[in-house]
């Protein structure tokens, strides 16, 4: 007669291993999803390229996102604004993406852009303050000028905001009521 815990554990080895593999699989799956299938880089109704507009054609951000410096919202350019330029850029007039734009304009329909940076309703962020504080758009939105399709680069979670506020010693930038109200 003898006793050993190890002996008793022996038959549990395989189920434990299977569970381990399963859990590992879960992590892998979640990672794969985040990497390849997430909403970080959604396919937009028009294949708009920031690279062409910003880098190649040297259009400053606020030329189109006109509200950023004076309102909480950066705003996307109106269809008329897009057409304003594209009417006078004959070189690419016939490209399929511009034709899409033209269709929207002719039908007087807005373009249903998919939001890449979306904050929960209880976060009251304001672009104006951040622009006025001298932040470059790229600080939060990443190297937009190099992106053909816009990709979310920041988590936009609270510690991400707070870290920056702490680092820059924003006066009372850590008061909850700065953003939540």
């Amino acid at each position: 007669m003898s006793i050993s815990v190890l002996d008793a554990l022996q038959p549990a080895k395989k189920p434990a291993l299977i569970v381990l593999v399963l859990v590992f699989g879960l992590f892998v799956g979640a990672w794969v999803h985040g990497k390849y299938f997430s909403d970080r880089s959604p396919i937009q109704p028009i294949d708009f390229s920031h690279r062409i507009h910003v880098t190649d054609n040297e259009i400053p951000c606020q030329h189109c996102h006109i509200y950023a410096e004076r309102t909480p919202v950066a705003g996307v350019p109106s269809v008329s604004k897009c057409m304003g330029c594209h009417n006078s850029v004959p070189s690419v007039r016939e490209s399929p993406e511009i034709l899409k734009l033209a269709t929207y304009w002719e039908n007087r329909e807005p373009i249903p852009w998919i939001k890449v940076y979306d904050l929960p309703d209880y976060v009251h962020f304001t672009h104006k303050r951040h622009i006025k504080a001298g932040l470059a758009c790229q600080e939060c939105h990443g190297p937009v000028e190099t992106m053909d399709r816009i990709t979310r680069v920041a988590t936009m979670k609270m510690p991400w905001c707070v870290d920056c506020h702490t680092e820059r010693e924003v006066e009372h930038g850590r008061d909850c009521w700065t953003c939540h109200k």
């Binding site: 007669m1 003898s2 006793i3 050993s4 815990v5 190890l6 002996d7 850590r174 909850c176």
Partner: protein, 168 residues
């Protein structure tokens, strides 16, 4: 080679153990279905080192508890109710609870450490030791000593003696 001697009566069992001990068998295990103070004395067990674990745990818990309360309240400076950020009286309560929590956890750790449980390796055992038999186990006896040990056990009045191979 381990020798197991099983006794029906406590006094015989203690007798055998005492004799074995005096005969130089040091690797003795005294199995009983209930705690026996004499057996513990016989094994030279007085104050258990578990108590050091308890103390260490309590001290660690106290420090950790207070430190946690202070440190986390400094992560975000959020004043409440006109109290100071570092408020001693409520933090003492946290300290108190954490003292106990870690005291208990460390004692548990100490138990495992001191008692050598859980026992991973195979050890000789008799089921009856968990019911109504008192069992003496002599381990690590040299081959020539086995017979002597067995004789002592039998003399003391064991109702069963067994030999078990130890795996090294």
């Amino acid at each position: 080679m381990a020798i197991l001697g099983s006794f029906a009566f406590e006094e015989d069992f203690l007798d055998a153990a005492r004799k074995l001990k005096s005969s130089g068998f040091d690797k003795l295990s005294l199995l009983s279905p209930l705690p026996l103070e004499e057996a513990q004395e016989l094994m030279g067990l007085e104050k258990s080192p578990v108590r050091h674990f308890s103390l260490a745990g309590a001290i660690f818990g106290a420090i950790a508890g207070f430190a946690m309360a202070v440190a986390t309240s400094l992560v975000f400076i959020l004043p409440t109710g006109g109290r100071a950020i570092i408020t001693i009286p409520p933090f003492l309560i946290i300290t108190y609870e954490m003292t106990i929590l870690f005291g208990v956890l460390f004692t548990l750790l100490g138990f495992h450490f001191v008692s050598g449980l859980p026992a991973w390796r195979d050890r000789p055992y008799l089921i009856s030791a968990g019911i109504d038999r008192f069992v003496v186990i002599v381990e690590g006896a040299a081959a020539d000593q086995v017979a002597r040990a067995e004789a002592i056990i039998r003399d003391a009045g064991a109702d069963e003696v067994r030999h078990v191979e130890e795996d090294q």
